[in-house]
Structure formats: structure tokens, C-alpha cells
Amino acid sequence: MIESFLNIVTIGLVVVALLAMYRALVGPSAIDRVIAINIITTEIVMLILIYAFLGDTVHYIDVALVFVLGTFIATLCILKLLREGKLI
């Protein structure tokens, strides 16, 4: 029962990520795109965790942990590039 429920939630998360992808495509400024990419990465983390439960592969939780840290650094780098015009 819980497996079919999580399958439905997976499809819903993909739909939400597509909604955010619309804003990432048509967003008028760069900050809009950064916000949209940030929410898409959030949903990808949730998808990885749900798949780790569904496929009974608990090692994927480590993948989600590293993904959170990587997206944090990536978003900070993009924002620093927008603020200062250079990265280093």
C-alpha cells in the first residue's frame, strides 16, 4: 500500500519540478532562474530519498546528502558570480 502511494508521490514531484522548470525557462531575470533551479534540486533530493526507500537501497541516502551539499556550493557560486562579476 505504501509503495503505490510513494509511486504516486514520485509522479507528483516530477510534475512539480516541471512547474518550476517553466519558471526557469521563461524567467525574466537571472535570480528567477536561480530560485527555480534551487527548488528543482530540492525535489530531486526528495526523489532520491523516496527511491532509496522503494528500491530498498539505503546507500542512496548518502547520494542525497552529497547532492544537498553540492547544490549549496553551486548556488552560492552562481550568486557570487552575479554579485561580483567574477568567481575568484
Partner: protein, 123 residues
């Protein structure tokens, strides 16, 4: 019996988290302004993440997995406010337009304008 109760509680929590993520995404599309979009995303994203993580914590039977999920919980709780703060500061310093009909109600903006004028006259 105990297993069924746990699964139902997890399903309710995951549904709540999905609802908040959906509301944040709809707000990201519908709202007219960068700051409004940031307002929609910055809170709904964090709360949806938390609810889904707690629901998955109820589902996992392994203690190691629960501790790793708690670590992701703490990371989200610290990372999302930092990212939202830096995004708002960047949008403000780039002088992004407010939506028509809104007004600025702080002293920081007049301070920034004064500083910019001084820089311009100095250079």
C-alpha cells in the same frame, strides 16, 4: 497493527510535504515579482522538505538511515535560509524592480541610495 499506524502517519506527513512543495511551485509561477517568488519558495520549500523527511524517517527501519535523514534535515534547516538571504541581498543590490503598487518601507534603501550618490560624486 503498529506497522499500519506507522505507515499511515508517514503517508499523512508525506502528503503534507508534497502539498507544501506544490504550493511553493505554484507561487513561483503565479506571483509577479522576484521578492514575492522568493517569499513563496523560501518557506514552502523548507517546510515541505521537513515534513517529507520526517515521514521517510518513520518509514525507515534502520537506525543508520534515520540518523542520516536527520543529518539531511539539519542541513536543509541551515542551507535554505542562507540561500534565500543571499538571493534577496543579490536582487536588492542589483536593483531589481518591484511590482507596481508596492512601496519600500525601510531606512536601509535610503541609506543605500545616499551611499551610491556619494560614490558617484566621489568618482
Amino acid at each position: 497493527m503498529w506497522d499500519l499506524i506507522r505507515q499511515i502517519a508517514a503517508a499523512v506527513l508525506i502528503s503534507g510535504g508534497f502539498f507544501f512543495l506544490l504550493v511553493g511551485s505554484i507561487g513561483l509561477i503565479r506571483l509577479p515579482d522576484v521578492y514575492n517568488r522568493m517569499h513563496a519558495v523560501g518557506k514552502c520549500d523548507t517546510l515541505g522538505n521537513w515534513l517529507m523527511l520526517v515521514g521517510l524517517m518513520l518509514l525507515m527501519t534502520d537506525l543508520t538511515s534515520v540518523v542520516k535523514l536527520a543529518l539531511i534535515f539539519a542541513l536543509v534547516a541551515t542551507i535554505n535560509p542562507v540561500i534565500t538571504h543571499v538571493m534577496a541581498k543579490t536582487a536588492y543590490e542589483r536593483g531589481m524592480d518591484l511590482v507596481e503598487g508596492s512601496f519600500v518601507l525601510n531606512t536601509y534603501s535610503s541609506f543605500r541610495e545616499e551611499e551610491r550618490r556619494r560614490e558617484r560624486s566621489g568618482s
